[in-house]
Symmetry: none
Subunit: 401 residues, 2 copies
């Protein structure tokens, strides 16, 4: 439903506090989820006055990547609003990524003497080393057939390639073969257009020149490209929902997806106390804050139950500082589940807690999957969250007479 | 959502065990549903480790026929994928039903001296008698205006008519007036096209000739046609979901609907122990098994509460043999509710239990409508079941980066 005709002004503040990968399934002999095992006194106190529920990120059974998982929470249907990885990375690192640019995510890799991949992540070289490697590329490969070639470091073995020129296409397949013992793939088109064919040739040449430059490197002597993508041209959250939004996220990917919907990026470190302080310092400037907590997801991907429990408790502890800011609507939820039992993202609906004066109260005592299953928000698509947040912020007028 | 781009290989086995007409509403002084009254120790044990929920077959308040009820479970939206009864019967009896053929379901009926119907089911004549009657038609009425006319027995008073020729239409109304004391209706078109008009004339003539042949029969001296339909040309489950599917169903109708989505029909008898053995004998050949248990629905239609409870318990007892096969995903649910209190199909959502290692556990103790209402699958359309089954079988890759 288009909410634009219903939008009205409000000074209310909305905080979306995402505990990345929060949801779980039973783990170990006790059969508890991470959230059930964690002590979360602050979230539990909110639960007593909150409506809770379970949000289904993309579609039943569909496991979301980080981009789609967040877009749903922001009110953007991830099936309608699709983004390539390159686009996400480009916006995430703060690159001046313009309409028409084509970006790709790069992984440095290690090649053997025959040009076969022996490590798809170049031994996960540290960011400092990666920066030096990228600097060599920036110096050596700047233009191919009149098209500007930009290189940017991301983190560890990751980097960014951006092509800037007229009439470029992004219908290009990954050069990462997703396995070792074979050489990187050539750049081929996924749809046969003149733009794509020309761009494929240019990208291929740029990558070839890059590998020549890197030949002397011990670890990062090769490069793999994934997710070629133009910058999407989407309506902003301000246009669609009338809020001025900001993101506080220490990891480029999440800042990236937030910027694609028009959020402004505030200082962030992935240290939650500092990140809450950054939000506090900008409290008067925005209506909507997306505060991202990363460590829970990482622990889930590692299958480290105790660590995930620990990080959930750390995320919980930050709530008291957030509440001192007196938000009108505070939502705690996740972009997707990352059950330790599965060591990866999953499709399971995520717990969600919506605290506001106007919340119909569940009266639950503990924030967990089970209590959310019984909550007033029910089980529903993630895209329903944003209209609910706007309503509790007093931002939606009556529909119809 | 189109799942094709996400499909990936897996050896996991999915079993969809349908207890036909399972759902109920309170019955009698105790006010229990059939499932609440039944002892289902095997399903109850699964429930402790399963996610459960309620599935709405077609649309809120809409009572499904057997075809639509099953299509939803197979992941085919029954509103989008519509089939005439004739098409179902034709595929169900294993007739060589080709693209372009027009099929109709026939009921033999008894006519009085004036040609009025006195029994719409010809005293439910036994199948052996019906076969002889059909043999007479096969002999006598083989071609009308260059169009082949095929007759096939189904079961008891039911039979099949198939017209085969060029440019036939299936926009024809039923000739069954749905009441007694009046003659069969003429074949009329439901949409005025040249194909339909010509086919109506041919069908009318074929039925007229049939009634002449049957005039000497005591009971089956008339014939009523319903559900004229061409064979639908749908994408198969293998095309849409990447699984090789098989059906084990003793009743033609259910095999029929399963074949329309590309399932292969295995031996089936409507004796559940034998049908499970048939599945076991083919366990290595398929990824997805649709095992159909019929008797629960029949008892519901008869309004026989004790019989339905008995048959639920029989269906439950078969679970232990199924579990010996070590399926990765076992789903127990229904195509629709058939409450004894209503003596017919109903629109009420059906209980569903999904057992898999990756299930978020409800921890419920009893498989029934009430416990499913509290379950992790929530209340959702039947069409959501298939993507969930694929996810738990490890068949869906992550969506987006």
């Amino acid at each position: 439903m288009d909410l634009k005709p219903l939008l009205r002004e409000s000074d209310a503040k909305i905080v979306l506090y995402v505990w990345d990968g929060l949801g779980g399934i039973p783990f170990g002999p006790e059969g508890k989820t991470e959230l059930e095992a964690a002590r979360t006194p602050n979230a539990d106190r909110l639960m007593a006055e909150a409506s809770s529920g379970l949000l289904e990120p993309v579609y039943p059974g569909v496991t979301p990547g980080s981009g789609p998982g967040h877009l749903g929470l922001f009110g953007y249907d991830p099936v309608e609003y699709q983004i390539g990885r390159g686009a996400l990375e480009a916006v995430g690192v703060g690159f001046d990524y313009r309409q028409g640019d084509v970006a790709a995510r790069l992984n440095f890799c290690t090649l053997d003497g025959k040009g076969n991949i022996i490590d798809r992540r170049a031994g996960r070289i540290p960011s400092e080393e990666s920066k030096l490697v990228v600097a060599r590329l920036q110096e050596a490969v700047r233009k191919v057939e009149g098209v500007e070639v930009h290189w940017a470091p991301v983190k560890e073995h990751r980097a960014l390639l951006v092509l800037r020129g007229k009439d470029l296409g992004d219908g290009l397949a990954d050069t990462d073969p997703q396995k070792e013992g074979v050489p990187p793939l050539d750049v081929v088109v996924t749809a046969d257009t003149r733009e794509n064919s020309r761009t494929a040739k240019i990208a291929q040449e740029a990558l070839k020149q890059a590998m020549k430059v890197l030949a002397s490197e011990k670890k990062a002597n090769g490069v793999l490209a994934r997710g070629f993508a133009k910058r999407p041209n989407w309506p902003t959250m301000e246009e669609r929902f009338g809020v001025t939004p900001a993101v506080i996220a220490g990891t480029p990917m999440y800042r990236g997806v937030a910027r694609l919907v028009g959020m402004e990026a505030l200082d962030a470190t992935n240290e939650i106390a500092k990140d809450v302080a950054s939000m506090a310092a900008n409290w008067d400037k925005y209506h909507y804050f997306f505060l991202h907590y990363k460590h829970t997801d990482k622990a889930g991907e590692d299958g480290n139950f105790d660590a995930k429990v620990h990080y959930i408790e750390e995320a919980d502890a930050a709530i008291s500082e957030i509440m001192k800011l007196a938000p009108d609507v505070l939502i705690i939820t996740a972009d997707h589940s990352t059950p330790c039992a599965m060591k990866g993202h999953s499709w399971h609906p995520v717990p969600a807690l919506l605290w506001a004066k106007t919340a119909r109260r569940d009266g639950a005592k503990k924030f967990c999957e089970k209590s959310c299953l019984q909550g007033n928000l029910g089980l529903r698509p993630s895209t329903h969250l944003m209209p609910l947040a706007l309503a509790h912020a007093g931002r939606l007028a009556k529909f119809g007479a």
